[in-house]
């Protein structure tokens, strides 16, 4: 209630609806940040003896990419994809965190017509989860920078599409030890909100926000350059939909085999979304995998 009072009262019912929506979104955002903060603040609690498993890894994968941009065609495209990943993780009795870079290339074809395009995706993210029980974990994922580059050379001014986003997701994980050296993990990350910018709009190769604000200007790179991050906007779930699922099997110290599904569905104009999806089978090699045990000097009790 205190937060709401800081805003001036909206003058019309339409504005009031927008205002209430924004307020609800802000509540969600604050709740999510608090959730992350609380989980992080619990970092140094309780256990006197802590075991931490540290891993650094690289991985390669392949699979299937899918794409549709309803602004310029209802034709769906798909094709073979290849991916590379590198990262590091820390896992203790109470938490798990990792930082990861991933790059993926997908060729995009369709049986609707000849020709096609390509998609390159690169993203860098952090995730952190707390163990709720032996098998269940809950936390958050911050995709610090995610870039989707698409090219369809036959489309002239619309040949290149770029989406930048920095998204926060809620992350759940279930892990289960099948044998001494075999562990299976299920992950689901659901995007809550994002700062995003799509370089193309409903009808042109400039961002929708630039055109809606009436600030397009050939002498201002911020409004014309597809690489500019200016005019990014806060986008909540519903408009910016990001889902990532992952099933992985850890095998002995060094290996992980996984299936991953990533989805990004974003619309700057109602009913005209752009959708990217990728199904990836990958193998990961942990070139560092070591366990450290130490005694905590401080305790909360």
């Amino acid at each position: 209630m205190r937060i709401k009072k800081e805003y001036s009262k909206p003058s019309s019912s339409n504005e009031e609806t927008i205002f209430q929506s924004k307020f609800i979104l802000m509540k969600h955002a604050i709740f999510s940040i608090l959730l992350c903060s609380l989980t992080i603040s619990g970092f140094s609690q309780d256990n006197v003896r802590r075991t931490v498993l540290k891993k650094s890894y690289i991985g390669l994968g392949g699979g299937l990419g899918a794409y549709q941009d309803a602004k310029f065609s209802n034709v769906p495209y798909s094709g073979i994809s290849g991916s590379f990943t590198a990262g590091t993780s820390r896992e203790s009795d109470s938490y798990y965190w990792s930082t990861n870079f991933n790059a993926r290339y997908s060729s995009l074809k369709t049986n609707y017509h000849i020709g096609g395009g390509l998609n390159v995706n690169a993203n860098y993210n952090f995730d952190y989860t707390r163990k709720l029980t032996e098998n269940y974990q809950l936390g958050g994922k911050w995709s610090l920078m995610n870039v989707n580059f698409t090219n369809f050379s036959a489309l002239g001014n619309n040949s290149t599409g770029i989406i930048f986003n920095s998204a926060v997701s809620v992350l759940g994980r279930y892990t289960r030890l099948l044998k001494e050296d075999v562990r299976v993990n299920f992950e689901l990350a659901l995007g809550l909100f994002s700062m995003a910018k799509e370089a193309t709009s409903f009808a042109y190769s400039a961002s929708q926000k630039v055109l809606e604000e009436g600030v397009f200007d050939f002498q201002n790179d911020a409004t014309t350059s597809p690489l500019s991050l200016s005019y990014s906007s806060f986008e909540p779930i519903g408009i910016f939909n990001k889902i990532e699922t992952n099933i992985s099997v850890d095998y002995k110290k060094r290996w992980q085999f996984s299936y991953q599904w990533d989805l990004l569905n974003y619309r700057t104009v109602k009913s005209y979304p752009i959708t990217f999806a990728a199904h990836t089978l990958s193998v990961r090699f942990n070139y560092i995998s070591k366990t450290k045990t130490r005694l905590n000097k401080e305790s909360n009790k």
Partner: protein, 355 residues
């Protein structure tokens, strides 16, 4: 038992997660009628100048729909959709089909040149004004007479106090340093002729960069009216000001811009950018227009559509607004006599104006 449970859960997990189709639009139909409906919808939703062009898409689609059948050939269907392209009277708008070798098998675009006279003759220009024999001091970015030519600049042999810049296309890259060199070399001239005849466009940002050398103050030049949604009235204006170049070599003395019907697209951007400037006079023939920005997409059968999704409405030096998509008349109308190989009448008239 435990292992089989994991397998079942994994299969369910994969099945549930592989649902991007839920988020995507349904696959489009490729029937003749479906493609016709798709194209008429795309034009109605995207095209930025239906009102200015006097095209009622509902009426046009209704009048063509009875002729579209599933039995008609591809050529006939293309011919029917091409009627819509021609009604738009817009050189930016087109419908194209390519075969597997990348060759165009079907093309429909509006011929905005037809009926207008040639106003540029390369032989006359090279032999009398910019060639090495006629003008040994004339410089160029790229080679005169070759496809790599980006710009010709220097003093005219007919009057060494007048500068001349020929920009055959804006579909090139010219660096800020190169522009500085060009304008520094012409800074002491008493006037400059900017010859953009035959320039069918390219990069509007480059066109604006060059235009910015001809003003010392920010000038309102009009607005671009963009289509921002599918509704018929979903437009937003982006007002445009020409900001002066950050250079000491801005040229504020008289300028003559030479035009013809081939002046189109980004070359029109150059024209509307300098049109409100008091020191600029247009000489030659009516320009081609193409003031809108262009978008492209695929129909379900793979045909590529191009459409103008905006219109630039310019202002003249008297403040009046002008629709520019069908070009505009120059201040001084001059025809080129291609039979007289000794002179270019349009350049000669510009020399007279600047002397």
């Amino acid at each position: 038992m435990k292992f089989s449970l994991i397998i079942i859960v994994s299969i369910l997990f994969v099945a549930v997660s592989s649902c991007e189709k839920v988020f995507m639009k349904p696959k489009p139909e490729q029937s003749n009628i479906a493609v016709f409906e798709e194209y008429t919808t795309v034009v109605a939703e995207k095209y930025g100048m239906l009102e200015f062009k006097g095209v009622d898409m509902v009426h046009l689609a209704d009048s063509l729909r009875p002729f579209v059948t599933e039995e008609m050939t591809t050529d006939s269907l293309f011919g029917t959709l091409a009627i819509i392209v021609q009604q738009l009277k817009d050189g930016h708008s087109a419908l194209l089909n390519q075969n597997a070798n990348g060759e165009y098998t079907h093309v429909s675009t509006y011929d905005f040149i037809s009926g207008y006279p040639f106003s540029l003759h390369a032989g006359i220009l090279i032999d009398n004004y910019i060639g090495a024999e006629a003008a040994p001091e004339m410089k160029s970015l790229g080679t005169i007479g070759e496809s790599d030519l980006r710009m010709v600049y220097g003093r005219l042999p007919q009057d060494n106090e007048l500068g001349y810049i020929h920009i055959p296309s804006f579909n090139v890259e010219i660096s800020a340093e190169e522009l500085e060199t060009v304008f520094a070399s012409l800074n002491s001239a008493k006037g400059i002729i900017v010859d953009i005849r035959g320039n069918t466009g390219g990069d509007p940002i480059l066109a604006t960069k060059i235009a910015a050398y001809f003003t010392n103050e920010e000038v309102y030049i009009g607005y671009e009216n963009f289509k921002i949604g599918p509704a018929a009235d979903a437009f937003m204006k982006s007002p445009a000001n020409l900001k002066p170049a950050t250079s000491e070599n801005r040229f504020l003395k008289p300028v003559a811009v030479l035009t013809d019907r081939f002046v189109y697209s980004a070359a029109t951007t150059f024209c509307y950018s300098v049109n409100p400037l008091d020191n600029v006079t247009f000489i030659g023939q009516r320009t081609g227009g193409g003031s809108g920005s262009v978008a492209a997409g695929y129909l379900a059968n793979g045909w590529v559509w191009n459409l103008s999704v905006s219109e630039f409405v310019g202002v003249a030096d008297d403040g009046s607004e002008h629709h520019l998509d069908n070009g505009f008349e120059p201040d001084i109308n001059v025809l080129l006599d291609t039979l007289d190989k000794t002179k270019d009448e349009i350049i000669e008239r510009a020399i007279m104006e600047l002397q």
